[in-house]
Amino acid sequence: MTDGRRRMTALAAVIAFAFAALVTRLWFLQVLAAEDYQERATGNSVRLIPDPAPRGRILDRNGEPVVDNRRTVVVTIDRDELRDEEVVLDRLADLLDTSTIALGKSLHDPDYLPYQPVPVYEGAPEAVAIYIAEHARDFPGVDFEEIGVRRYVRGTLAPHLLGYLGEISPDELLDPSFADVRPGQLVGRGGVEQQYESFLRGRDGLIKQEVNAQGEIQGILGVEDPVPGDDLVLSIDADIQELTQDTLEDAVDQARVSVVDEETGTYVRASAGAVVVLDPDDGHVLAMASYPDYDPRQFADGLTQREFDVLRRPSSNFPLSNRAIAGQYPAGSTFKPFVAAAAMKAGYARPGGFYNCPGEFIVPGDTSGTVFHNWETVDRGGISFAEALIRSCDTVFYNWGLQFWTERGPRGDLMQHHLRRWGFGDLSGIDIPGEASGRVPDARWKQDINAAYPNLFPEPTWLPGDNINMSIGQGDLLVTPLQLAVAYGALANGGTLYRPQVALRVQRPDGTPVRRFEGERLGRVPLRRSDLTAIMNALRGVVSSGAGTATSAFAGFPLSSTPVAAKTGTAEVHGKQSHSWFAAVAPANDPQFVVVAIVEEGGHGSQVAAPIVRRVLEGLLHFEPGAFHVSGQVTD
């Protein structure tokens, strides 16, 4: 072979080698990786347009819509397609009557990935959408979509109970129960919106389009219709709820300018409050108010960071918190019926008994000089079991508390055991998130808290004074307004503890029932029916007898036809003004409603909380309401 031939062969070999490389690559692409590329080719040409399912409505017990949906137009911008950003944003700002800066800020929200269209304006008029569509050339990358937004038919009605919608979080996206939710979609936050998310959220439909490289639609490959979410019917009565909220707010407003705090001599702060209305026969919630509250429409319109900060800063007094289920307070004297029940169970008290009601109480044998005072200084002498509750005589209860301590067994104190049977110190299990458990302190708790915070809690031993304080709903005892309402419900219905329930049923948009939520029994309280009756009868005297702590607050109320069993409470908190409590059952002879109210730093129970409850009862019982005013007589 000549040199030239050899060189030619070498050249041919190089080319043959290159061809071999091509074939190898071709084999990889078309044989080994074909499936992957086929998938990508399909992904390229098939565009899935979600067709959002309308979220279920929320109705009150009478079927009146409280939350439904409205359609709104959202303007979006695809940053990849956007040209001449400033010019386009200027044009857009003009059309939407907003500022270029605001649009620019939304556009560069770092939460959106580069290829995601960014929503820059919500609630654009239909005409603007049409204009943009017709002048697409002037608005490169600008598009709009119609989305459903929550509409709060009754305005600020029950915001805590309803909850609101928020964008799904990255953590939730990993949760299998959110498997069909896409990033950026809204899900329930708080209240029934969160609790009943799986019912309220429908299943989004899908439109399969064939598109070309320019994104132009070539045809429709398939349509999957959206399945709307189910409606949720609440046990709430919208009118009663509104009355409850308004009354609470009125009471707070009035208290701030008319009720004087005894210790400071200034008007009470009345900084916050809560009201719970329950049906004692099944635990359904008829109304639930927490003050201060917020406007859920803020969330629907897209909350700005500033608005959110305002809602969260301490000076706003935490309007997002639902105090009816999450507020924990000493129960004060509203706790006494349950302490009396415990004393009956233990045999210290009986309906026909008489008990000493001196002005002060000293633990026998105690030489430290600790004196426990009654709320009034008069020595009432021996009073009946009923009178002890009607007068709210502290010293009678001190004595029972001490007896529990004296006769405590190796497993601790029976008082706490009996009280817990009423649901105190544990979650009630209400069907909205965020509930607090309250606290029924005992020797074990005191030891633990001392070990954890020796400076704040220097005393590790459960002393007689701890029981004595707890016997009047003070000390380290904490209850939520809801827990108190549930316990009064058990008192009213003959001893059954119900799980409080906000939802009545779930139904299809056409009304077909999907699921019904019956009242769930949690247990029975440990007391004979006759003993319960004795307590109920005593509580009727609280609003009717001359010695009753709330008699003046119920002056003019038709008690003869509609008796009311109630209890006032004035909870003392170190470093704060007293909380005003009131709990009532009506009608006492045929209990239909339990109403519990608290106004934080609102003075005495009879002054602020009692008028609130009275007003709500008037609404519930369809009575002609009297003039509403707080500041009655000063009692415990």
Partner: protein, 376 residues
Amino acid sequence: MDVTVGRWANREGPLRHIDPTLVAVALGLALFGLFMVYSATQQSLRTFGEDPGFYLKKQIAFLMLGVVIMAIVATFDYRLVKVYAGIAFGIMLFALLLVLTPIGDETAGAQRWISLFGFQFQPAEIAKLTVVAALAAYLSELREVRLDHVWRAAGIAAAPIALIFLQPDVGTMMVFAAVLIASLVVAGARVRHILILVGVAIFGAVIAFHLGIVKDYQIARLQSFLDPAADPLRAGYNLQQAEIAIGSGGLFGRGYLNGSQTNLDFVPEQHTDFVFTVVGEELGFVGAILLLVLFAVLLWRGFRIALLSKDSFGTLLATGVVTMLAFQVVVNVGMTMGIMPVTGIPLPLVSYGGTAMLTNWAAVGLLLNIHMRRFK
């Protein structure tokens, strides 16, 4: 004077030594191309309400003209090419200069076209063949290829490379470089000298990069070749879509006129530089291999002709043509599959484009010519 007539003379006559395989394969490739060009363009032409056969018809016209040109080129003795190579080279340089003047048309940031008598053509395409001829003419005159000859040969290629660099058209520059090296190898230049040349060229390229002479889009394309996923919507987009098209074809393809990547316009430049993606998507591995086999046969005939040639000019000319075709096939097909950088190189005889079609048929004509006159 010795006048030969009769059987013996006829047996050595050019017309009796046409290479039918070469012509058949070239025609086969061109017909293959017609189908592919139609598939690549019909859908989008339809969408715009135009005649779906618009590009096909033009390509058929180019093909017919190309066959005529092949016949003409084959008619005259190829040794005349050696005589006129210098003049052709000069005209070619002038045409390349014209491209850079306002007479030239600009598309996509590059000036590659000039219009003459109502026709648009790309001088760079013609330049490929002219350079092949000029190098063959020069190198065939040398008895021994010394280093200074290597420089001179490089100088011949360098002039059009420089002008094409200004357009810019990196692909064509690379074709010239490949032809230069192949011609030097076959002409007998020392391997050491060729390596020196390559080293100097690489050094020059690095300098060009650093001085910023290379345009941004070329750097971007090179980068996207190295990492196609980095920037899916811009430089790497062509490449990704091309790979998806070919890959989704699988073993047997998605059927002629049935490729979604093709019909929905996902591959840019699909009837020209990326025509191979139509083959890949619609005819699959089997169709792509068939196309490569046709090219292999064409190149094999070319090599065979280079070896059969009775003079070194013919050998060098045929080698240059084969290299020119082979290099374009490998780079073009390779770039659609992501193993070669994306440069504007069409697939010979298959891609849509008039000037390239005519040039390639002229090249086939040259091969045919050498084959026909291998005895005389």
